[in-house]
Symmetry: C2
Subunit: 363 residues, 2 copies
C-alpha cells in the first residue's frame, strides 16, 4: 500500500473519538456472536448497531441473541442504509461472507458513511491477486471517504500470512517458506466437523468436493499472495490443490460422529506459490480427527533458516475474534485506503480497558 | 506513538528517492562492517558515507576496511558535520554505542540534516522508559525535520519485544509473558565469549560484575517497557537482576578458551516487569558454552495460551544486520517522529533488489 517516497504528514482531520469506540456489527451468526460477546467484556468499545438478513434474528434485541441476561438496546435490522444513517459508528465489523463480491454492498455502504471496516471476509485479507480491479476501487473509495478497510482473522489474517511474514524479519535472504497448521478437528464445533467431511465414505467425500459442498480452507491463495507481496516476489502462479481426504486407519469417535476405518477423518488443504518453476511458498492446513499433536509451524529456508512452532497451535475461533478486535486501534490510526496486515503495525492484544489508550491521547 | 483519533493524511512532501536508497554508515566496527557488506549485496541501496572516530580507520577507503577487492570511493571520516553537509543521504545507520546519550550528538546532527535514522543503539529501541525527556526531545526534533528515528536489531528490537508483541495478536487476554533466549556461546565470536566471562573463576566473574567489566545483555529493560507499552500495561516497576554466572560442572573447550569445572561457562541475564506485585513480563537471556539445545522461546499465558519456540534460535549477528536493513523501507514510509518497532509495519525480509519496490512506486 505504501511505497518508497511517500512521506506521510500526520494531521488530525476531524476524528471525534469521544470516550469509546462505536462499533456496528454485520452478521450475528456464531462468529458475530462471539465477537459481540468479547466486545461486551471490554470497556471503551460499544456496539451501536447490528445488521443481519436472517429472518429469525431481525427485530430481536442483540442481547437476546447473545443469550445474556440483559437487553442491549440494539435491535438487529436488515436495513443497512437506514441503520447506517441513524447511528454514529467509528468502525463496522463485517462477519458475513467469504468473498469480496459477497460483502461488497455493505462494505461500500459503510465506506460511504465514513465508517472504517474490519472484516473476516477471507478474500479481503489480500484481495489484490484475485480481484485487482475491485481492490483498486475499494482502495480509492476508502481514500476518498478517509477510512481504512482491513480483512483479517486468525487464518487468513495471521497464522499463515502476518506471522510468517514477521518471521522473515531477521532474514537476509528468504528462499522458501512452508506453513503447516495441524488441527484436531474432533475438538471443533460440529458444523466444522461436518463441513470437512468427517465420517463420510471416500466416494461421498469426492462427490461433495466435485459439487463444492466441501471446499476446504478458504484463504490459502490470499495468504500466499500476501506473503509474496511482503517479500517483493513476483510469483509465476499460485496453485490451489483440491482438498484431499485424510482416511482413518482405525476407528475414532468425535462429538459429531464415529469415523470407521477407511472413511474420512478430515481433510488437507494445500496451496503452492510458484517462482522459477518451484514451489517457494507452501501452505498446508490439515484438520482431522486423528491428529495426535496440534501445532502451527512455520519453516523458512534462507539466511538464516527459521524453524518455528507454536506448540498446541492457536485456537481458531478464539483467535479470529481476538485478531479482529486487536486490529481495530491499528485501523483507526492508519492512513486511509484498503489495508492488509503487512501494512499495519504489529498486532497486539488489547488492554481490557481501551480507555488507557484514549487517556494517553487526551493528555 | 500514534493514538486514537489521530487520522493520518497521506501526502507526498518532497522525498526524492531517485532509484536507490542512499545510506550513511556511522560505525565501522564488526557490526558496521557486517551491515555494509550486506548492503553491497543488494541492488537499490548505496553507501554514500562512512563515519568513525577510530584512528586506524579514518582516512581509509571503506572497501579496504570491508576487505573486499574494490575500493568503494567512500572515505571513512570522523568529521560528522562535514560529511553530512556534502552527501545526500536518505538514511543513516548508527551502529556505535548502546546508550542514547552516547549516540545523541550524531543522532541529532542526522535529524537536523533531514536524514532518517536506524540505529542498533540498544537504549533507543524503547527509550521512553529510561529517558522520557530525551525521548520527547528526539521525537519533537524528528517531527520538525520530517524524519523518522528507529532503534532496532535482533535483540532488543525483535526477539524479545517485536516478536512477543506480535504473538499476543491472537490473544483476547494476556496475563503474563516469558521470553527465553538460550544461546550456545561457544559458537559466537571470541570478543563475545570474553565479554560474558567464559573461563573465569567465579570470584573474578563477580569482581568483573561489580566493576562493570561484565554487564550482561543490554536491552532487557527496554524490551520489557516496549512490551508493556504495546499491551497498554502500566508496570509497578522493571527489575533488572545482576548477571548470574553459569558454572561449568564438567570441562569444556571453546575456540576461545577451556572452561574448567567450577569455572564460569557463561551468564544468565534476567529482568522482570512487575504489575500488581507480580512479575508479568519475564525476559531471560542465557548464553553459555554448555548449552545443548539452542532456542528462542516465547510463552504467553492468557486467552488463549501461546507457546512458541524457534528451534535452534536465531543467529544474533546475522539477525541484527537483517533487522536493521529490513526496517529501512518501513522507516522511509512512516510518519515522522521517534518510532519503535510496535509502531511500524510487520518486519519482513527485503527482496535482494530493492528496486522492485520502487518500480511499483513509479507505476
Amino acid at each position: 500500500m505504501l511505497k518508497f517516497g511517500t512521506r506521510i504528514k500526520r494531521e488530525r482531520v476531524g476524528v471525534n473519538m469521544e470516550n469509546e469506540i462505536k462499533v456496528v456489527l454485520f452478521g450475528v451468526g456464531p462468529l458475530g456472536v462471539a465477537i459481540a460477546k468479547a466486545m461486551l467484556e471490554r470497556k471503551g468499545m460499544k456496539i451501536v448497531g447490528a445488521v443481519d438478513t436472517a429472518k429469525d434474528v431481525v427485530g430481536k434485541d442483540l442481547g437476546k441473541i447473545l443469550e445474556i441476561n440483559n437487553t442491549l438496546g440494539v435491535t438487529v435490522t436488515d436495513d443497512v442504509l437506514g441503520s447506517l444513517s441513524k447511528i454514529k459508528a467509528n468502525v463496522a465489523i463485517i462477519a458475513t461472507k467469504s468473498s469480496v463480491e459477497g460483502i461488497y454492498p455493505e462494505l461500500t455502504m459503510c465506506i460511504k458513511s465514513g465508517i472504517n471496516v474490519v472484516s473476516t471476509c477471507e478474500e479481503l485479507s489480500y484481495p489484490y491477486y484475485k480481484q485487482p480491479q475491485l481492490s483498486a476501487e475499494i482502495d480509492e473509495l476508502a481514500k476518498k471517504h478517509g477510512v481504512v478497510v482491513l480483512g483479517t482473522g486468525i487464518n487468513p489474517g495471521y497464522l499463515m500470512d502476518a506471522l510468517p511474514i514477521t518471521l522473515t524479519g531477521p532474514c537476509l535472504r528468504v528462499d522458501s517458506i512452508r506453513v503447516t497448521r495441524m488441527m484436531d478437528s474432533s475438538k471443533r464445533r460440529i458444523p466444522f466437523q461436518k463441513k470437512i467431511g468427517t465420517g463420510l465414505a471416500p466416494e461421498q467425500f469426492e462427490k461433495n468436493i466435485r459439487e463444492k459442498v466441501i471446499t476446504g480452507h478458504v484463504g490459502l491463495v490470499e495468504s500466499i499472495a500476501h506473503i509474496a507481496a511482503a517479500l517483493g516476489w513476483t510469483l509465476d502462479s499460485i496453485v490451489e490443490f483440491p482438498p484431499e481426504p485424510v482416511i482413518a486407519k482405525k476407528e475414532t469417535t468425535t462429538p459429531y460422529t464415529t469415523v470407521k476405518p477407511g472413511c474420512v477423518a478430515g481433510l488437507k488443504s494445500l496451496a503452492h506459490g510458484i517462482k522459477g518453476g518451484k514451489p517457494v511458498i507452501v501452505l498446508e492446513f490439515i484438520a482431522n480427527a486423528l491428529v495426535e499433536e496440534e501445532y502451527d509451524a512455520i519453516s523458512i529456508e534462507g539466511i538464516p533458516n527459521v524453524n518455528q512452532k507454536i506448540i498446541g497451535g492457536v485456537h481458531g475461533d478464539v483467535g479470529t475474534v481476538a485478531v479482529v478486535l486487536n486490529m481495530i486501534p491499528k485501523v483507526l490510526n492508519a492512513a486511509p485506503g484498503l489495508a492488509t496486515m503487512k501494512d499495519l503495525p504489529l498486532p497486539s492484544a488489547l488492554n481490557e480497558d481501551l480507555r488507557v489508550y484514549l487517556r494517553s491521547y487526551s493528555s
